[in-house]
Each structure stands twice: as structure tokens, then as C-alpha cells.
């Protein structure tokens, strides 16, 4: 029970801080919108395959930019404060949940804007949206732990990219396949495999993060 109250408290704290500065929200939103616009200006129209891949590449980089900040840009003082008030498990869960919410919001807005600017037929709109949500969740669960690891190592962004790409590629392969199925309007039972494996990856990654984060935190 103590864990849940701690998580709640940290989550609220995180949101209040974000709401005060609106740094991540505005910054990432602007990043996504301008990337989409640049892509629109350079592509004009795209075949469906490119449309899908492009969207996920934009989302991938937006996610890296957004989530790197979750540990790397924390000040020493605030980390010390967290250390005193909460257990490491509570901190990592709160961070993962917060990043998930942030990414879900971000990718919903991005999808909305993207599909307005780029005209494209999507066969199964609901499944595509589900794929986007699932993608946002997977990105945040993987990147949160990597960001924690990278923040301990000289805080540079290059390391974050190097460490996260090999881990995220299987996720991205699955998501692109899932969303392609949705675009082609295939029967939903076809996509069950991908959804199952994605959920499994998420569960594994979150469990491993929970087990490992305490070691990373104690320093």
C-alpha cells in the first residue's frame, strides 16, 4: 500500500512540475509538428508503406527526445529528494507511468496532425489507433530504463541512442507490422500474434526494470 501512495505522490509531483514549465510538452509537440510538416513539404504524397514507416520514425525520435529528459535532466538536488522520500521501485514505476501518459498524449496529437496533413487510407482505424497507443507504451517502458542507465554514464545523448536502438528495433519491427496490418484492414485475428509478443516484451521489460533499478539507484 505504501508503494501505491508513493507512486501516486511522485506521479502528481511529476505532472505538476511539467505543468509549471510545460517544457517537454511544448518542446516535443513543436518538434513533432515541425517534423511532420517538413516531411509533408518534401514528400507531398506518399505510398502507404512509406506513410506508415515515416510516422513511426518520427515517433521514435520524439520518444527518444522526450524520455531522455526523464533522468538525464534531473538536478542533483531533486534526485536526493526522491531518494529520501520514496523507494526505488516507486520511482521507476512512477517514471514509466508518467512517460507512458506523456507519450500516449503526444502520439495521439501527432497521429491526428499527421493524418490531417498527409492524406492516407487506413483500413482499420481503431486497430491503427490501438497500435499507436501500444507503440507509445512500449517506447516509454523501454526508454525509461535506458535513460536511467545513460544518465549514470556521463549524461550524453549519443550513448542514449546507441544503447536504446538495438533494444527498440524488435519493438519497432513488430509495431510497423501491426500497424501495416491495420492499414490493410486485415482481419483482427491476424494481428493477435504481434499484439501478444508486444505485450510480452512490455511485461518483461517492466519486470526487468523493476528488478534492476534498485541497483542502479543505490549510488
Amino acid at each position: 500500500m505504501k508503494l501505491i501512495t508513493e507512486i501516486r505522490y511522485l506521479l502528481k509531483k511529476e505532472m505538476v512540475l511539467e505543468w509549471r514549465s510545460k517544457y517537454a510538452l511544448n518542446g516535443i509537440l513543436l518538434y513533432v509538428v515541425s517534423t511532420v510538416f517538413v516531411c509533408y513539404l518534401s514528400f507531398k504524397t506518399t505510398p502507404p508503406l512509406v506513410w506508415n514507416a515515416l510516422f513511426w520514425i518520427i515517433m521514435l525520435f520524439a520518444a527518444i527526445n522526450a524520455i531522455t529528459k526523464s533522468f538525464v535532466q534531473e538536478s542533483k538536488g531533486r534526485l536526493l529528494y526522491y531518494y529520501q522520500i520514496a523507494s526505488p521501485q516507486a520511482i521507476i514505476i512512477a517514471k514509466i507511468i508518467y512517460n507512458m501518459l506523456l507519450m500516449i498524449l503526444m502520439s495521439t496529437i501527432a497521429l491526428f496532425f499527421y493524418s490531417i496533413v498527409f492524406q492516407n487510407e487506413v483500413g482499420d482505424k481503431l486497430l491503427y489507433f490501438a497500435a499507436v497507443i501500444l507503440g507509445a507504451i512500449s517506447f516509454s517502458s523501454v526508454f525509461t530504463m535506458i535513460s536511467a542507465i545513460a544518465s549514470k554514464a556521463n549524461n550524453n545523448g549519443t550513448l542514449m541512442a546507441i544503447l536504446s536502438f538495438p533494444v527498440i528495433i524488435p519493438v519497432i519491427i513488430l509495431i510497423i507490422k501491426l500497424s501495416k496490418n491495420a492499414m490493410d484492414g486485415l482481419d483482427r485475428s491476424v494481428s493477435l500474434d504481434e499484439i501478444g509478443v508486444l505485450t510480452a516484451i512490455n511485461l518483461i521489460v517492466i519486470t526487468v526494470s523493476l528488478l534492476l533499478f534498485p541497483y542502479l539507484w543505490r549510488d
Binding site: 536502438f165 510480452a200 518483461i204
Partner: protein, 220 residues
């Protein structure tokens, strides 16, 4: 001498697989022809790599539990040896693929997965080199190693099964069993796998001992 028994066994297995792998009869299959014998040499590289990466992750876990530097050294040398076998496996596979599938890098999920897994462990070495302080380096790289391992398992064992692949045993293709049921291939293949796993562990062991000596020397 009694301590060396596994090294000798591994050597005998490898030598046995070289002789029988070239001489024993193999099933006559179109496209593959005699190149099916590569099975005895190319596939064991992957088995050795996976076993050695598993050793790395086990030692990373042991390091986090005990904080004993020894386990960190075993883990890093396992990754180095695993990378060696991964590269050999990739290159030998490319030569074979060029002959049977028409190009050195056919868009095959197993190839891509293997390349990504190799990237993952290269990232591990980059992470290590970016950290200076020994204890911190050992701890953080152990954490990354454990974090990356389950993803690698998904990458190598689950993803290729979901998509069509040229490799046997994936995407509805028959597994090895279909080829070697009617032949003696098993009597060569399994010893070859065991032998190469032994050789890989041996190389890792040698590297680990060299590194330990270097560490002692550096401390003085």
C-alpha cells in the same frame, strides 16, 4: 591433466566433426548440394554465441549480487568472445547465403535479428568504454547486459518464427529434423555444437585469465 578434460573433449569433438563432416554422406538436396556440410561449421557458431552470452548474463547477475570484480571480468570477456563468434557466424553465413540464396544479405529475419543482437553487444562495449570508474562501470554495464538479454532472446527466437524466413525451422519451413532424420547428420552435428561451445568457453576462460593478470599488474 584432470582439469583439462573438457578442453580435450571439446577439441576431439571439433576434430571429429571436421573429418566426419567432410566425409560422411549427406542427404542429396537441390540448391544446397554439398554445401549442406556448412551446417556442421556455421550453425555451431550461433550455438556457441548464445551459450557464451548466457554465461555473460549469469555472471552479470552474480556480480550485482556479490559485487565481486571476478564476475564482471567473466561477463565482459564472455561478451567479447560472443562478439567474435557472432561475427564469424555472420560472415560465414553471408558466404553460404551468397551461394544458396543468391545474395550475401537476403532480407531474412534471422540475419537481421543476428545483426541487431551483435549491435546490442557492441553497444555494451561502447557503454563500458564511456565509463572510467571501475565499480560504476562494472555495475552499470551489468545492468545493461541483463536488461538487453531478454530482448535478445525475443529477437533471436521469437521474431524469426513470426515471419517468413529462408532458414529451416522458421515461417513454416521444415526444421533440421526433416533433413537429418534419414541420415547420419545428427552424429556429426551434435558433437560439432558441443565441441564449439567448449572451444568458445575455453577462449573466454583464457581471455578472462589474461585480463585478471593485467588487472593485477595495473594495480601494482
Amino acid at each position: 591433466m584432470s582439469k583439462n578434460w573438457w578442453k580435450i573433449t571439446a577439441s576431439v569433438f571439433v576434430l571429429y566433426s571436421v573429418v566426419t563432416g567432410l566425409l560422411l554422406k549427406v542427404p542429396m538436396l537441390p540448391i544446397l548440394h554439398e554445401s549442406i556440410r556448412n551446417l556442421y561449421f556455421h550453425v555451431p557458431m550461433w550455438f556457441a554465441m548464445i551459450v557464451i552470452y548466457t554465461i555473460a548474463v549469469v555472471n552479470s547477475i552474480r556480480y550485482l549480487q556479490t559485487n565481486d570484480e571476478k564476475y564482471d571480468l567473466i561477463a565482459v570477456e564472455s561478451v567479447n568472445t560472443g562478439l567474435l563468434f557472432g561475427f564469424i557466424g555472420l560472415l560465414s553465413g553471408m558466404i553460404w547465403a551468397n551461394f544458396t540464396w543468391g545474395s550475401p544479405w537476403p532480407n531474412d529475419p534471422k540475419l537481421n535479428s543476428a545483426a541487431i543482437a551483435t549491435l546490442m553487444y557492441l553497444a555494451y562495449t561502447v557503454l563500458r568504454s564511456s565509463l572510467d570508474e571501475e565499480q560504476k562501470r562494472a555495475k552499470i554495464s551489468a545492468i545493461y547486459n541483463i536488461f538487453a538479454f531478454p530482448v535478445m532472446v525475443v529477437l533471436l527466437f521469437v521474431l524469426p518464427r513470426l515471419t517468413d524466413s529462408l532458414h529451416p525451422g522458421n515461417g513454416g519451413n521444415p526444421g533440421f529434423g526433416a533433413y537429418d532424420l534419414d541420415s547420419n547428420m545428427r552424429f556429426v552435428f551434435y558433437p560439432a555444437v558441443l565441441g564449439w561451445i567448449g572451444i568458445a568457453i575455453w577462449i573466454m576462460n583464457i581471455r578472462f585469465r589474461i585480463r585478471k593478470l593485467e588487472n593485477i599488474k595495473n594495480q601494482i
